[in-house]
Amino acid sequence: MQSFDGRAKADAAPRAHHLTLSINNPTVRAILWQIGLGLLVALAGWYLASNTMANLARLSIASGFGFLDREAGVQIGESLIATGPRDSYGDIFVVGLLNTLKVSGVGIVLATLLGILLGIARLSSNWLVARLAAFYVETIRNIPLLLQLFIWYALLTEGLPGPRQALEPMPGIFLSNRGLKLPAPADDPVWAWVAVLFALGVLVTLALSAWNRKRQLATGQRLPMAPIGAALTLLPPLLAVLLAGGGALDVPVLQGFNFKGGMTLSPEFAALLFGLTLYTAAFIAEIVRSGILAVPKGQTEAATALGLSRGTAMRLVILPQALRVIIPPTTSQFLNLTKNSSLAVAIGYPDFVAVANTAINQTGQAVEGVLSIMIVYLVISLALSGFMNWYNRRVALVER
């Protein structure tokens, strides 16, 4: 009782402890804690930095980013821009960065499509389809990506015949241990026409769908826009290419021991792309599935009661609501795919990490090399998550 009274008196007194500089004052203590931690971190940083300086001086390794202008003396096999043996480290860094962006960009698009398909398939009323999708997802998710990359790479190099016995699944497409050879657009005036026709098709489709929407509001009838739009945009360019005949396409042909002409998907790129796409698609499938399951069953029933078919209900009612649940975790899957593309170094695809690793091995400037890897991935991550947050805000529920 006595002690209770004592406390009550102390608390009743004016809040004197806010003014005293006592160690018992919470504010003072908070400041001291923070100063202490700040000092500790700074001290650790200084210790590591001074050790690094001493070690670098002892090993006589240069520091700074001056090496970016020096000649690298390596030729990158695969590049989106022109390369040469006299490229500087800066040049090959750009090549590596573009390669990273290429495989991540294509991978994100393909993984999203496949993931949505698999997520819906897992919820299919067809037992066989649902089981197969579940089997796929469970298998792929529980095996390390690197192992899958090794398997794909081995299948695409050791598992395939040489160029002379190349498989030809379709005319003009060759599959051999030198990679996938595809017909490429040749230097021909027809491609200008193709571009014009495609643009025209898109414009006509946009106009038609606006008219279609108006008509639907007025009469309740609508045209099936998806097939019409596809036909309008794709058929005229295809016709143009067919009319131009053989000159439009640069078809790969076997000459001696290898192919000439056409476009090449190297085994490294193909293995990395397959691996990343199939692996990430399994994770996206699970996200899509849980997103669809998060939409209340009443929504499906209401859509059926309105007379919408299963496909239309999915497209107009279920998916737009599911997207709100799906987008945030999918964003982190996109980021994971981009970061995982750094596994390229294990199968020899010249992505940014592989190129930076080469630079580290040649110059010994590990600090700068690792630092540039981190900066590049941080910038990509921030840009991607910025874009996805913007998209998320667009589809987010607008409350009254």
Binding site: A54, S125, N126, W127, L128, L147, A366, I373, Y377, S381
Partner: protein, 364 residues
């Protein structure tokens, strides 16, 4: 009125929907496109499965050398029979391989025992200390007439388990501290934690492993030798701590504010509050996602091949470089793939089971 009642009563009963045929109609051929899908996939299975059976069983060779395998044309299981010791144990001395076997069993037993909820709490510390201590003793040796085996000779499954279990164990306290820092009211703590977490989560694990393997020796004074396994462990710990921190933060944010206020009203200080009130509740909430983090770490340890450690995946890969056994990559990768799968699948089933069991009390 009676007319209608009578008519309804005279309708034949619903035909029971039982039997294989009724099941197939409901689940495989409920509409024309479902029927078409079923037939398409059944056809693909018809094309693929006989080939796989032929490869894996009919034409497979269980013994004999590489030439015999190539002649048979199927899977070469004799390659696995020849190399399984190397793939599982790496370069650990041949006559001592009962030791890594015991270490693996001890680690698995530790994991299985700690999966039982009755052991959660203080006993868990003793179980982990005992189990992992025994595993470490077996691996290192040096006492009880066992030869000392340096970490440079470790490889295969014990290395993978050591990296993932020790990696998770070490990153857990660091992750909890980072999560507390990120939810703290003190700006310096919060700022440092946010910067660390976001920096690490924004970069790939490979770059952290590179940093650990090439920069760590630069960071430390010249006369401090630091072994390769320890470098990889430090890298994996620093990496997964950021992910564990985010998981724990989710749990911290799920605790109602009233709990903090009530514990403040009781006169508890910050650390007492966290230790006695907040963390026990928050950590119980995040055990299923923590198991998922463990799965991710377990798979990610395969990346140490890039800094030259001989884990389960890289032993398989180096077994393939034996000139006498060229080209049997399917068998080798299938073998280690199954091992990875068994661990990860068991863990993911366990995580899902926990979610339902732990969710039972919270769901209404």
């Amino acid at each position: 009125m009676t007319e209608i009642v009578n008519k309804a009563a005279s309708l034949p009963p619903n035909r029971p929907r039982l039997g294989l045929w009724a099941w197939a109609r409901a689940n495989l051929f409920s509409s024309w496109y479902n029927g078409a899908l079923t037939l398409t996939f059944a056809y693909i299975a018809w094309l693929v499965i006989p080939g796989l059976v032929k490869w894996g069983f009919v034409n497979a060779s269980l013994n004999g050398d590489a030439a015999a395998c190539r002649a048979a044309g199927g899977a070469c299981w004799s390659f696995i029979a020849e190399k399984w010791r190397f793939i599982l144990f790496g370069t650990f001395p041949d006559d001592q391989q009962w030791r890594p076997t015991l270490a693996i069993l001890a680690t698995i037993a530790t994991l299985v025992i700690s999966a039982d909820r009755r052991t959660w709490g203080r006993p868990l510390l003793f179980i982990w200390g005992g189990g992992l201590g025994f595993a470490a003793l077996m691996m290192f040796g040096g006492v009880l007439e066992m030869d000392f085996v340096p970490t440079g000779l470790w490889g295969g499954l014990p290395l993978t388990l050591a990296l993932s279990v020790v990696g998770l164990g070490a990153s857990f306290p660091l992750g909890v501290l980072l999560a507390l820092g990120r939810t703290s009211e003190l700006p310096v703590m919060r700022g440092l934690s946010v910067v660390y977490i976001e920096l690490v989560r924004g970069v790939p694990l490979i770059s952290i492993l590179f940093m650990a393997s090439v920069m760590l020796p630069l960071f430390l004074p010249q006369d401090v030798p630091i072994d390769k396994l320890l470098r990889a462990l430090i890298g994996i710990t620093l990496f997964s701590a950021a992910y564990v921190a985010e998981v724990v933060r989710g749990g911290l944010q799920a605790i109602p504010r009233g709990q903090v206020e009530a514990s403040k009203a009781l006169g508890l200080g910050y650390w007492q509050r966290q230790r006695l009130i907040i963390l026990p509740q928050a950590l119980a909430l995040v055990i299923p996602p923590l198991v998922n983090s463990f799965i991710a770490i377990f798979k990610d340890t395969s990346l140490v091949i890039i800094i030259g450690l001989l884990d389960l995946l890289s032993t398989a890969k180096s077994a393939l470089t034996d000139p006498a056994w060229r080209g049997f990559y399917k068998e080798a990768y299938l073998f280690v793939g199954v091992i990875y799968f068994l661990f990860c699948y068991a863990l993911s089933r366990y995580s899902r089971h926990l979610e339902t069991v732990l969710g039972r009390g919270r769901k209404r």
